[in-house]
Each structure stands twice: as structure tokens, then as C-alpha cells.
């Protein structure tokens, strides 16, 4: 069983990092996983995105045309990736920056004001980590305990002091 996720937003919102944390979480859980970024001209201004594919067995293809989950942190990304969510799939949107519209009837929508929740914690920089917490509540195969381990792994020894803030960010949705 293979599931894929697309993270998208402005350059600087920590999109690639959010994908990296999720990929690490899956790796720690013992699953096979790949992470693939958009690279090149797209990154210079405009939106940035990355794709995470997870599988119980060997991950087959990357760079898929459609996705089970799209996590979008800005309006541009919502408009672009809402079309690429599979039937019955889910789009998780940052409603601080995305208008709550539902252009398709065959997918699920999760709107959470992620930037606002991050600002409540003191910095909009953790919007990406808030989005992972939201994803965990919308997607049964994403588990918070492993996300916490994934965040810890990505921060490493050098940025250990940021771990408590990031753990709070992961749990921001529960504390609303």
C-alpha cells in the first residue's frame, strides 16, 4: 500500500523541511519512504513543493501526477494542487492564507489557521510543523509519536533547544 503527500507553499515557509520531517518519521517507523523536491527555477520566487511517498514495501515511482494528501500553506498552492488530489483524497490547507472554498465535491477539505496557531506560539516560523500536526489528525498513517522523533532527528544536536517549541507546534491543533 502506497500513500503520497505533496507539501506546497511559499519559498521560506519551510515546505521542504516539513516533508523532510515526515519522511524521517516514516523512516523511523520502519517504512520505506522517498522525498522528492521541485528544484530549479520554481524555487526562485513563487511556490515550492515536495512530494513524500510512503510504502509498506519498496516505494515504486516518485514524481507522481496525483496525490492522496496535499498540504498547502498558501493560496497559490491551493489553486494549483487542489486539482491533483485523488478522488477521495484530502487537502489540508492553511486557512490563515487560503480562502475556505471547496471547488471539488469529490475530495475532503481540512482548513486550519496554521499561521495564526504558529503566531500564538510566538513565531510564524513553525507554521510548517503546525501543518504536520494537522496532517496527523487527518491521516491515520501519520503518527504524532514518530513525527516527534522525526522533528528531533531533523533538528539534531545543534538545534536541540528548538525541540520544545516544535513539539508544541506539532500539538498546536489539539490545544485550540
Amino acid at each position: 500500500m502506497e500513500t503520497n503527500f505533496i507539501f506546497a507553499g511559499f519559498g521560506g515557509q519551510g515546505i521542504l523541511l516539513a516533508g523532510t520531517v515526515l519522511a524521517n518519521a516514516f523512516m523511523i517507523e520502519g517504512k520505506d519512504v522517498t522525498w522528492y523536491p521541485c528544484y530549479g527555477a520554481e524555487m526562485r520566487g513563487g511556490t515550492v513543493n515536495c512530494e513524500v511517498v510512503v510504502s509498506d514495501t519498496e516505494v515504486s515511482s516518485v514524481h507522481k501526477q496525483d496525490t492522496d494528501y496535499a498540504i498547502v500553506l498558501n493560496q497559490q498552492s491551493f489553486d494549483r494542487f487542489v486539482k491533483r488530489v485523488k478522488k477521495g483524497g484530502t487537502i489540508v490547507a492553511n486557512s490563515t492564507l487560503v480562502a475556505e472554498t471547496r471547488p471539488r465535491a469529490d475530495i475532503n477539505y481540512v482548513f486550519v489557521p496554521m499561521t495564526k496557531l504558529a503566531n500564538d506560539l510566538g513565531t510564524s516560523k513553525v507554521t510548517n510543523v503546525v501543518s504536520l500536526g494537522v496532517l496527523a489528525s487527518a491521516c491515520p498513517i501519520v503518527k504524532k509519536e514518530f513525527l516527534e522523533k522525526g522533528v528531533a532527528k531533523v533538528l539534531g544536536e545543534k538545534k536541540k533547544e528548538l525541540l520544545p517549541l516544535n513539539i508544541k507546534a506539532l500539538n498546536a491543533l489539539c490545544e485550540v
Binding site: A23, M27, Y39, S60, S61, H63, Q65
Partner: protein, 370 residues
Amino acid sequence: MAENNEKVLIKGNYAIAQAAVNAGCQCYFGYPITPQTEIGEYLSGKMQELGRGYVCAESELGAINMVMGAVSTGVKAMTSSSSPAVALMQEGLSYAASDELPVVLVNVMRTGPGLGYIYPAQGDYNQAVYGGGNGDYKIIVLAPSTVQECIDLTYRAFYLAQKYRNPVILLADGILGQMMEPASFGKYPYPEVDVSSWALTGARGREARKIYSVATDEKKQIQHIYDLFKKFEIITQNETTYEEFNTEDADIILTSFGSMTRNIKAAMNVLRKKGIKAGCFRPVTLSPFPHKRVSELAGEGKDFIVVEMNMGQMFKDIKYAVNGQSKVSLVNRPVGEWLSVEEIVEAVESIVTQGLTVVNPGGVEYAASI
């Protein structure tokens, strides 16, 4: 990155770079180009840290010649680049093959021809396997399909280069270079090769040696080329490697190289569920190519379907090996989005049911005469 079996989530480019370090690569020379720039970026810091050599060369031509200079002294050295810039190194590869220099070159393929663009492609099969340099020469070409293999085959590239005194190309692509996957480095698994009989280390106390490719004597030149090809026969016998899945009972065999292999494996599983007996065959060494095994499988009446992101380059090697024993078809797209599992399944079904020989999913209608 420790030399142990712990799994780390790592990009293909960084994996190649760290594997080169573990393999004992003493010098790196390169010039930046997307999508392989991370290799040079990583090594620029790492080599300095370890007191090894790193030069950001003034050009690709400079880089390949610097590698030739370094390896002629018996140390392990490498360069890395991408398609249009590897084209600039072809002269060097011809020289290195003739001079029998253990050059290691990593090509993280992007689109072409010409400058092309930075997205992934597989259009350099011919460039790597058949070469753009002059004269009769052969290069060893290894094609990884996962990040783990980027590590394993980088190790192998350094070993084979020195073992056979032959240039080796690691042929990756933009997808492998940019993607992250869990992989472990382990230790460099090969023995060190004794280079003392030929390396240029200063002639004190021994006869002077020369490494050069000019041949003014016709007889010697003829002998030299035969020697190179005799050597490659040995390489073909000893080092040809491939992977196959479900080929025993297969009616059709999907074949591809590099990262596209992942998609054909997935397509094979879907096709099996639909009742089409599909298998997979994938050369790990593109040169030496496993012609013999392909010929055996074709002899059992199995048809081949070649899936690749170019206009049918490996297709010709399969066709040559099959040699009319069974049907060979092509599913391809020159550049752009990797052929998806669904596209491959659909293409295979139309080949099986409608007898097509070429399918270009989502592409321009184009009837190749093959």
C-alpha cells in the same frame, strides 16, 4: 555520516559524495551544474575537513583533465557533472580509456539535446555507453536505481576503475540526485588495488614511466586497441550484473534502467494482478551490457518491452541481444514527467492486445520505424 549500517534519510547527490569519501577518493574536481551541484557542494567542505583535494575547476574540460592527472599518480579521484557538461568531457574520456586511467565520472542526467533544461531525463545512455569521444574505446557504466544503490555503485565504481584501469561512469539522473531515501553507508567493501606497477610516483630508483596515448607505430597501435578490448572481454565476463524479477514464468519482460526501474517493477505487479504474466529485467551495468542473458530469455520466447525516458537508446541494445528471437517493443517519452505506473500498464496492455511496437504515452503522435 558514519561508516556503519544506521539508516539515514539522504539525497542521492549527498549519498554519492559521501560514498566517494568512504571509498577513499582523495581528490575531487568539478564545475557546478544542476541537478548534481550538491555533490561538489558537499565535497567542498568535506574534502577540506579531511585534508584531501578539492578544486572547483575553471571548466568541465579542466575538471576531467585534472582527474586524469590525479589518478595517474595512483590515487582515487573523481569528477561529477550533468548531461551537456559531460558532453564537454568526452575528449577526456577517450584519452583516459586509451591511457587506461581509473577515472570516475558521475553523470546526473538532465534533459537534452543542447543545453536542454534541468529536469531529469535518461537521454545520455548512448553518450555513456557508446561514448562521444573519438576512436575505439569502452567505458564501464553503472546505473543506480535507488539512493542505496547510489552508495553501493559509487563504491563499486572506484574499485572497478582501479582494478581494470578503466574509466567508470556512474549514470544517475535528476530524480535520484534530488530525492531522499533511507540508506546506509556501511564500510567500503572492496580491497585496495595495488597500483604500484604503473602509477606515476616519481622515477627515483626505477625506470621512468610514461602514460600517453599517441601511437606513431602502427603495429603497436593495433596491439594496444586489441589489448583494450581483450581487457573489456574480461570485464564483461566478470562484472556484468543485472537484476531480474518473475522472469521464470513471464510471457513479457519489462526492461528499463536507472530510476525508471522502480516504475516498471510496480507496473509488473499491477499487470500480474490483471492476468498478464509480466517480469522485469534491469541491467545494473549498462556497459558491459548483459546481452547474453537477454538473448537467453528471448530464446525462451519471452517478448521484451523497453521502458525509458529517451527516444529508444537502450532499446537498440535489447533489440541487438534479442536478435529476432522474440518481439521487442518500446514505451518511451523523451523528457518531462517520468512515465507513471498507470501509463506503463496501459501501454503494455495496448502492446499485448493491439500488437503495437511503439507507444509514446501522452506524447506527440510519432510512428518510429524500428
